[in-house]
């Protein structure tokens, strides 16, 4: 990435964040219709303050967010920032464990596939099939065949395995693409011609240089998994994380909580993209 583009991205970041806040506030204030009547009808919620203050206008909403005041949740009682702060560690733990398993498995599988290992192709096909099955069916199969009781393990374990299995196929495809591109390069061809052992070529030549786009992608991927990937896993396996919190907020139309969750996700994702660009610009790996 060219240096000016990186500077441009950094300068754009505050503008993007402001626009994102405005966009979400407008979307939430205009889309679902009439929040007051819905709240009165569904839960018997009566705001203690006058309506104008309880359901602020777009401008007031925007202004309070700029002052870092995300408000209080309608249904869960606590302040939104506190709820988010409490739920994030579980999700971060889940994602971190998932990543520790996901990347080694995907890279190993892609190398096995390229070496035409006997079982690797079947395994990869199995992963592709599993990744295209909806999460709810996997959960139903797990609960009907009472796999929880067979192994008596914590829901965290199942959630991590679930997250890994659903992401291995796409990451393997990506690794294969980059490894194949690197393998076609002249210095690798030369190493093969010089009869350097295949393992050395793969570890010291190809993985080191070819997987650079994968390393650059890690911050973005991590943020995407934290804020959107874990939602289904947390809801299905009843883990009180960020995904569960956003799901509750969306289901019960808890506007301050929805906005809080969305803004946290957006800020982190935007920062992760800039971090990814920064890594891409600064990390220069020497070819062996």
């Amino acid at each position: 990435m060219a240096k000016p583009r990186l500077y441009k991205r950094l300068i754009l970041l505050p503008v993007v964040l402001l626009l994102t806040v405005l966009c979400h506030v407008i979307l939430l204030d205009t889309l679902p219709g009439n929040p007051e009547s819905w709240l009165y009808a569904s839960s018997g919620y009566y705001p203690s303050m006058p309506i104008e203050q309880s359901f602020p206008s777009v401008f007031n909403h925007f202004w309070s967010i700029l002052q870092l005041d995300l408000g209080n949740s309608y249904f869960l009682g606590n302040s939104v920032s506190q709820l988010i702060y409490k739920s994030l560690p579980q999700t971060l733990f889940l994602t971190l464990c998932c990543f520790l398993g996901l990347y080694p498995i995907a890279i190993a599988l892609s190398i096995c596939l390229l070496c035409k290992h006997r079982m690797s192709r079947t395994l990869h096909y199995a992963f592709v099939v599993i990744s295209s099955i909806p999460s709810c069916l996997i959960y139903t199969l797990l609960s009907i065949f009472s796999i929880y009781y067979w192994f008596d393990l914590s829901p965290y374990f199942f959630a991590i395995v679930f997250l890994i299995i659903r992401r291995v196929a796409s990451l393997t495809s990506l690794c294969i693409k980059y490894i194949t591109l690197e393998r076609k390069k002249k210095y690798v061809q030369m190493a093969f011609a010089r009869q350097v052992p295949a393992r050395t070529i793969y570890i010291h030549y190809i993985l080191k240089n070819g997987l650079r786009p994968i390393w650059v992608r890690i911050p973005k991927h991590f943020c995407h998994v934290v804020f959107s990937g874990t939602l289904m896993a947390e809801v299905l396996f009843s883990i009180q994380g960020f995904g569960q919190l956003s799901f509750i907020a969306l289901k019960s139309q808890d506007y301050p909580l929805i906005l809080g969750c969305l803004l946290t996700a957006c800020f982190s994702i935007s920062l992760a993209y800039v971090l990814g660009d920064f890594i891409q610009y600064n990390v220069y790996i020497k070819k062996t």
């Binding site: 441009k8 991205r9 754009l12 503008v15 993007v16 626009l19 994102t20 966009c23 979400h24 979307l27 939430l28 889309l31 679902p32 219709g33 596939l113 390229l114 192709r121 990869h124 096909y125 592709v128 099939v129 599993i130 990744s131 295209s132 099955i133 909806p134 999460s135 709810c136 069916l137 959960y139 139903t140 199969l141 609960s143 009907i144 796409s170 495809s173 294969i176 693409k177 194949t180 804020f227 959107s228 939602l231 289904m232 809801v235 799901f247 969306l250 289901k251 929805i258 969305l262 996700a265 957006c266 994702i269 935007s270 993209y273």
Partner: protein, 302 residues
């Protein structure tokens, strides 16, 4: 894949409560395509024809009727219990609401597949077009496009679906096309930048053809190969999201069959194994179809 989708388009004509054709008093009627009133068949009331109702049956008695081969989504009241196992009439049994499982599952599949297809096509074309425009635009326009891209990326699909529940589907599609295009835009932009320096593009620019024509006639055919690789993944992703949301009773089409609801029935009634069997049959079938998409079978091309 396209042939399979066209075959799927014929599903409502195979599983329907309405007859395909009626030849009544020297006139042809097409109930599967249009809805008729009872007064059209000589009845007194202007109610919509219910072809399973005894009164309606007497109205079309003596007419030539071409029925669909399988029963539709009507509730079979002749059964002792709502949910019964497989039989000659109901090949895969019935679900707890008394509807035929096979018809229900295939109608739901039809709805989900086409919704996912429409969403994929919209995001594909919007993404490609905006990505190419982003690559071609000059400095200030480029900056604006970058801003639009960053803001659009921040709105997740799940949120859009849940927020648009009580709104019209057209409104949802409008919002979807305005926001969910970033994945293809990135790809299209990356592939367009080197292509813009090619002589044939420069030549086309000097000939003075419009930007839209340049993008779609000269640039789009060349970037298609790269962007098409993502299509099956996107389709399966949307299909999976829609089904998972249906499971939590969040649907874009209320009161219509949904695969998520079928999975929910399978979980609620584990002894009714035919429901789980149908779910597995459909989802594993779709996954196996996905395996036969050439872009996913890269191992063979290696």
């Amino acid at each position: 894949m396209i042939k399979k989708l066209i075959l799927l388009l014929l599903l409502p004509f195979l599983f329907s409560d309405k007859p395909l054709l009626i030849y009544h008093q020297k006139k042809m009627y097409y109930p599967c395509i249009t809805s008729y009133l009872e007064s059209d068949f000589g009845g007194n009331t202007s109610l919509v024809m219910d072809y399973l109702d005894t009164e309606s049956k007497t109205l079309i008695k003596g007419s030539w009727v071409l029925k669909t081969p399988f029963q539709g989504l009507s509730i079979d009241l002749s059964l002792p219990h709502a949910s019964t196992g497989p039989s000659f009439i109901h090949w895969l049994g019935t679900i707890p609401t008394g509807q035929d499982t096979l018809s229900y599952a295939l109608h739901a599949l039809y709805i989900n597949v086409y919704t996912a297809c429409i969403l994929t096509v919209i995001s594909y074309y919007m993404g490609c077009f905006l990505g190419m425009l982003h690559a071609k635009s000059n400095r200030s326009a480029n900056l604006l496009m970058q801003l639009y891209l960053e803001v659009s990326r921040s709105i997740p699909l799940v949120m859009l679906i849940i927020l648009c529940l009580k709104k019209s589907i057209v409104f949802f599609l409008f919002l979807f096309s305005a926001t969910q295009w970033t994945k293809y835009a990135y790809l299209a932009r990356i592939q367009s930048i080197p292509l813009l320096k090619k002589p044939y593009i420069i030549d086309a620019q000097y000939q003075g053809i419009s930007t839209i024509k340049l993008l779609y006639k000269h640039l789009f055919p060349h970037i298609r190969r790269g962007t098409n690789a993502l299509l099956p993944h996107t389709f399966l992703n949307y299909f999976s999201i829609i089904t998972s949301l249906n499971y939590f009773d969040i649907t874009l089409f209320p009161n219509s069959p949904s695969l998520g609801k079928l999975v929910f029935y399978a979980q609620q009634y584990p002894s009714h194994t035919w429901i789980l069997f149908t779910c597995c049959l459909i989802f594993f079938g779709i996954s196996l179809c996905a395996l036969h998409i050439p872009k996913l079978k890269y191992c063979q091309s290696e």
